[in-house]
């Protein structure tokens, strides 16, 4: 069966230009050869630390960024080179929710016009009153009252604004939503409300999500499958339950171990503390990208391409330990 969204060998390099003639002085390897797929009603999460390429991957999935190479398919059709009407039709089906509910909503537009704008662009609804009615329904779906239509974003709290952002994404009736750190800017008690809402909408509307986040506890809560990225590479992919029960890649292990857990009884727990920093992405290390910080690295890890292994059903890992 064709997956709803499928990325094959997605790669994005950014040239670093310098000097008056814009000479290319180097290349940032933001995303290198990333492949994954996501289905309807499923949440696929990409996790990793800053600079790992998860956001750039998300931007390629919503076609805000064109891949340097590789393909992104929706229902089996490559969308990497769509233009004009075809691109517009694609945008209607794939929407985005962003991290910062303060800067992602136009402060001069009312909540109603924010939600209606997408319908207007895509020709949904025959009259302003029909669109307004629909906006009201969608806002209700995200837990906002009808009187919010004529109010401005600044009148709402962060959590409510994120609901408006979600309503805007839903206004075109999408199949797939890319949520980039959609709950990271929210306080814990509000974050829980939005996580629940995301899960609820997925069930109700059969949506697929690409959920991009750095908070692994949130990811565990919401995801069906998880991909772990490091310095542009997908290091490991597994069903969420498996990944958290038994992480395979040394980076995933370190990442999980570094999470502070809200339980004083775990204070004595032995933690893996990685030394050093993430290397620069314009000079990624040869071999495994993680070998400079990996506690288990051997000479073989320092050169050549690290192939992907399939140690169990539904699991992929890019590490020589699992050859």
């Amino acid at each position: 069966m064709t997956p709803l969204v499928e990325c094959v060998g997605l790669t994005r390099h950014f040239p670093i230009r310098s000097g008056v003639f814009g000479r290319t002085a180097g290349v940032v390897h933001a995303v290198d050869d990333v492949s994954f797929h996501a289905d309807r009603g499923e949440t696929y999460s990409l996790v990793g630390e800053s600079g790992c390429g998860k956001t750039t991957t998300g931007r390629m999935v919503i076609r805000l960024e064109k891949p340097t190479s590789g393909a992104m398919r929706l229902d089996g059709e490559d969308v990497s080179n769509l233009t004009g009407k075809a691109l517009s039709a694609f945008r209607r089906r794939v929407q985005a929710v962003f991290q910062d509910p303060f800067s992602s909503l136009n402060p001069r537009m009312t909540v109603g016009s924010i939600v209606e704008e997408g319908m207007l662009v895509h020709g949904i609804g025959h009259s302003p009153s029909e669109r307004r009615e629909r906006a009201k329904e969608i806002l209700a779906l995200t837990g906002m009252s009808p009187d919010s239509l004529d109010r401005f974003p600044h009148e709402f709290s962060g959590g409510q604004r994120q609901r408006v952002g979600l309503a805007r994404a839903l206004s075109t009736g999408p199949d797939f939503i890319v949520a980039d750190e959609a709950v990271s800017a929210l306080d814990v008690s509000i974050q829980a409300q939005i996580i629940n809402l995301l899960a609820e909408l997925r069930e109700k509307l059969g949506l697929g999500y690409l959920f991009i986040a750095h908070d692994l506890a949130v990811v565990k809560h919401l995801s069906d499958r998880v991909g772990v990225m490091y310095l542009g590479h997908l290091m490991e992919e597994a069903p969420a339950a498996d990944l958290f029960r038994e992480p395979l890649h040394p980076y995933t292990k370190a990442l999980l171990s570094a999470i502070p857990e809200p339980d004083p009884a775990k204070r004595g727990k032995k933690r893996i503390i990685l030394s050093g920093d993430v290397p620069r992405s314009d000079r990624p290390p040869a071999g495994c990208r993680f070998h400079t910080r990996c506690p288990e690295a051997t000479d073989r890890c320092r050169e050549g391409d690290i192939p992907e292994s399939h140690p169990a059903v539904g699991r992929r890992v890019r590490c020589l330990l699992y050859e």
Binding site: S50, D187, A192, L216, A258, P260, P262, D263, R271, L274
Partner: protein
Amino acid sequence: MDSTKTAGDGRSPRLAVEGLSVAFDQGGREALAVEDVSFRVERGETLALVGESGCGKSVTCMAVMRLLATPPARIVSGKVLLSGKDVMPLGNGEMRRIRGKRMAMIFQEPMTSFDPVYTIGYQLVEAVLTHEAIDPAEAALRAQAVMRDVGLADPAGLMRRYPHELSGGMKQRAMIAMALVENPEIILCDEPTTALDVTIQAQIMDLLAKLRDERGVSLLFITHNLGLVAGFAHRAAVMYSGRIIETADVEALYANPLHPYTIGLFASVPRLDQDGGRLPSIPGSVPSLPERPVGCKFWPRCDRARDVCREEDPPLEDKGRGHFCACRLVAREGGA
């Protein structure tokens, strides 16, 4: 009111804050951002001030350091006792001699807390020379020694580097070195790892714990991250809408949270040791400063609220074994 008494050795705590209230000018009207906050931090102890945005934890910290811009802020009342001596009446000049020397601070944003036009070395040496009339070369040696203590490799080379040449984690280490260089009695850490990645956060927290245990420095640790509190602090004070609403030893607080807000907050944290499903959440949102309700600040979001909660703000009282809570509905241990 003494809300956080611990079995002391008779000496004064490193830091004691008593009845601190801070008001902000809201277009002609004053509103209290911090209301009657009291706590103490003993030698070598870490107290965490926990809460969500707008609860007043950072304002409290800035008021203690006397770094609030006045106006719009105004310290309405309160004492800040540093090893027993109230520093609140001191003027700005005298405070400058204390800040960085006896009490230091680590800020959230390692990216913006250094001056970008001076080298790391210059800024560390300046931190020493502000407080001591010693030879700059000697100050530089001391700075390098502290940089080594915080795990920075090649301190001599780093002295000549500018802040933008360091990674986030290295900058935060340099910030910690700067806080430590005068051997302060207490360090106030305002979300010191929030801007960092989780593997770097683990490095920095590990370092702070090591320094605390080796040097006996006291820490006031301000955070919204309940995981960090559990792993790092001895005691915690939970703030909501400008007040401390619960305080206890970390073990007691996590095992048995009393205040309905604390209970709701703990329940809404997604946890690694739990499977998915609906997360409990607290309805509504934190009221903004001008919208804070009369009575208990939490009643509009509290499912147990009664009439009495809407009328009077409950006092922070000992519910048994040093577990303080500001809620009328929570019975004292052994009581009804």
